[in-house]
Subunit: 287 residues, 2 copies
Amino acid sequence: MTAVPQPTAALLDGTALARELTARTAESAAELRRRTGTAPCLATVLVGADPASVTYVRMKQNSCAKAGIESRHVALPAEISTAGLVDAVTALSEDPAVHGILLQHPVGAHIDERAAFEAIAPGKDVDGVTTASFAAMSFGLPGFVSCTPGGIMRLLDAYDVELSGRHAVVVGRSPILGKPAGMLLLARDATVTYCHSRTADLRAHLREADLVVAAVGRPRFIRGEDLKPGVVVVDAGYNEGNVGDVDFDSAAARASLITPVPGGVGPMTIAVLLEQTVEAAWRQLVS
Amino acid sequence: MTAVPQPTAALLDGTALARELTARTAESAAELRRRTGTAPCLATVLVGADPASVTYVRMKQNSCAKAGIESRHVALPAEISTAGLVDAVTALSEDPAVHGILLQHPVGAHIDERAAFEAIAPGKDVDGVTTASFAAMSFGLPGFVSCTPGGIMRLLDAYDVELSGRHAVVVGRSPILGKPAGMLLLARDATVTYCHSRTADLRAHLREADLVVAAVGRPRFIRGEDLKPGVVVVDAGYNEGNVGDVDFDSAAARASLITPVPGGVGPMTIAVLLEQTVEAAWRQLVS
């Protein structure tokens, strides 16, 4: 018998979809500006000067600028206290010139990050990090979504991935990625399994998944041999060297659809942040 | 070969554990009364006169009385509006003589139940129905738990059921039962699968579970042949005729531990309600 070439998965192209979405966001921002004379404004808060965090914030600011969203940057010293950070965030929550707030994390181990997140007014929580946003996602209530899970849902929808009744395995359970991703999938009638570092037999769970969302932070941790043929693979991992949580080549040989890294979930995360910032501005300026 | 008798599961005895827990709660209530001159007070809110709801509220009031908790009953007409109900609940949230609030549901299809729940101050949400309580359960933050999931966790702990790394299948995804039960299990390092009415092959998921939480509202829906030998079965279902979601006899022949219905989850739900009411009163009266 001749070896049959493995089918290669089609790509879930986050770069292209993010470009489309951001073009619509830019139109909406421009329309808001025409109507009100005010541009949407995203406040970015950075504690310390971690190089990766600095880069992320700069990327978000640049993307804002391209979409006609103003940004205001608040740089705080690494040694700021929880109270100091909460005060800074509260001031932005109360400032009518700021429509959305992004607190870049991590904020440093000595700070109560949850307290800082909760200082973001729910109406300005365009990064979807507050408990109010989490509950809204979990219960299908109005509110902002966490940007990465929200970006994943938009990507799946753009490619008409059927979710109802399908088995989604979410690997990771962080408050702004794994947990809300699972809740959004559950709200769309997927059967959802949360796996994590304590899961006894991760490979067995992965092999049963129709959809895998990898959000674990371990480079190339999930491999093709762990996957069911035809699976949809979403790699939300980001590891040093721009490497995802999924071993792309082996996974692509099994999957029907897969996100590249980079160019998959990453651009969608920023696109959702921009979209929600403009949405927040509309609600605050035109009510 | 002679037929080997099937091993019969041991019972997760909710009646006995609830009695112990409530005895401690009654001591705590008495101590609070000695210290402050004030008894803990639970406000019960009933919309309409659905016979089952009337019975539930009366059971809760009776249990309160036995534990030294006062109750104040607010009976509202079935045709009350959302705004009317929100006002009534808000008044209780603001009343310093009330320490905990129980809004009996369902409240009628014309009412926005979520809005009514959200009118409960988080510090008085002793039934664990607000989005704030849900987020607290999900993120491991301080707060009250939903009573039935909280009762399940206490029952599992009382019988030293290992949760870390075990596969828990939660059947049902309601906001006050299935969803928070899964989040509490996940917080204890279980691998958690949410199944529901749209799940493609429920039986296959059940057969892989180390722990099943049934919260689906279909009498005797889960049967022994669906289960893995040695599984722990928690039946949180309640159906007409005092029948659970699990077919007890066939499930008990497979399980290592199982809750009876009645006498399993039901008494624990009330015990947790009482415990949290007294805890809320302590926080409000002694701070």
